[in-house]
């Protein structure tokens, strides 16, 4: 590690946290939500199970809140230190670079509001269940906001997985990076589908 500063380690940590635990948590969260497509009871059972995990507060703080705050705040710093130039150099990867930062900012705002509407309400004494989400997305404006938020978050995860693979040295050659582009496109479509199917089940 560089003796003079910690920027390298911080960037690597930023990259790692995006996938572990945040990416893993995103998939898990959308899968739990997806139980709503079966029935209201199925979702309530699944969400009660998640809420009754041992050391749940510890898990929430160290697996979700701290990583998401670090990844989000440092990510916003990264997003605002770039000088975007897709107008002049409109290559595929340059667009992905722009979308990654735009989707990251959207996801951060979306998650902040989402946490306020759910977890913070729990703190005030409401219970997390099907009805809570149902009441939010009954308003079409919130539904659209949630769909945009889900798509942005899933895009950020799928494309972030592509750069994760480069950052940690898994995909080095041109071909491996191209193959990973296809893999992350498939992940984007599949996970978005799961997420949107789930949110629509709450209407």
């Amino acid at each position: 590690m560089s003796k003079q500063d910690s920027s390298f380690a911080i960037r690597r940590l930023h990259s790692l946290l995006g996938v572990i635990p945040l990416g893993v948590f995103l998939i898990q969260h959308l899968l739990v939500n997806h139980t709503a497509t079966r029935s209201e009871e199925a979702f309530n059972t699944a969400s009660e199970f998640m809420g009754s995990l041992p050391f749940v507060l510890f898990l929430e703080i160290f697996v979700i809140y701290i990583p998401i705050l670090f990844h989000g705040i440092y990510g916003i710093y990264i997003a605002f230190t770039a000088r975007y130039n897709v107008g002049t150099y409109s290559t595929f990867r340059n667009w992905m670079f722009l979308f990654q930062r735009v989707s990251g900012v959207i996801a951060f705002i979306f998650i902040a509001i989402h946490v306020y509407q759910t977890r913070v309400q729990v703190f005030f004494g409401t219970e997390v269940d099907f009805d809570m989400v149902h009441q939010i997305v009954a308003n079409p404006a919130w539904l659209v906001f949630y769909i945009i938020g889900i798509i942005a978050t899933v895009y950020h995860f799928a494309n972030g997985l592509w750069s994760f693979m480069v950052t940690w040295g898994f995909t080095q050659s041109d071909r491996s990076q191209r193959v990973m582009s296809y893999v992350s496109a498939v992940i984007f479509v599949v996970v978005s589908f799961i997420g949107i199917q789930a949110i629509l089940a709450f209407i």
Partner: protein, 250 residues
Amino acid sequence: MIKFSIKRQEHTDAKSYWEEFEVPYRENMNVISALMEIQRNPVNTKGEKTTPVTWDMNCLEEVCGACSMVINGSARQSCTALVDQLEQPVKLEPMSTFPIVKDLQVDRTFMFDSLKRVKAWVPIDGTYDLGPGPRMPEKKRQTAYELSKCMTCGVCLEVCPNVNDSSDFMGAAPISQVRLFNLHPTGSMNKNERLDALMGAGGVAECGMAQNCVKACPKGIPLTTSIAAMQRETSFHMFKSFFGSDHEVE
């Protein structure tokens, strides 16, 4: 006549302005010979006498990298920009990522400082003859040869969204040079020093993977492969430095 639209600037802190020129056509003319024509007769389209346009040049065969500028929106060398292949009016701008000395001339000191920082050389000076170094495998030589074509022209920095005033990022060229010197059998004896330098502020971790560099490189250097290779090397180097490793004693 060939029309030119040139972005001019008196000195580093001056405001820029556009000036139009018309240059009589000659066969096989490149941007530099047109600029020389303007230098000989510095009169703009309005017929006003003006100062001659300043630019940088040296080899005139796209190996020195000095004459890079933004021509019709893309950063490239002006010596190999043939007027016949350019849309008119030909728009000439300096590479604005770098401090502008005057008109189209920029100061690429940042790049040379980065090369010094990452120790982009093979240290062999000493008090006695070290003898011949180890032989280089042919496959390695071929890869190294491609990387050695870098002329520090600055095009990869100009097109990079992460090289700008609010970031320290060194850009693709010096990262690729670390790969070149770490591939070299004698150079690799100091590879950890170069990796350490790459892991400082502005180093390889600040690459945003927009991959404009590899598309823009006039020498076709596989810059993004080099960056990915260095991402991998520095990842390993980070763990080795932290935990220690006897796996490969180097």
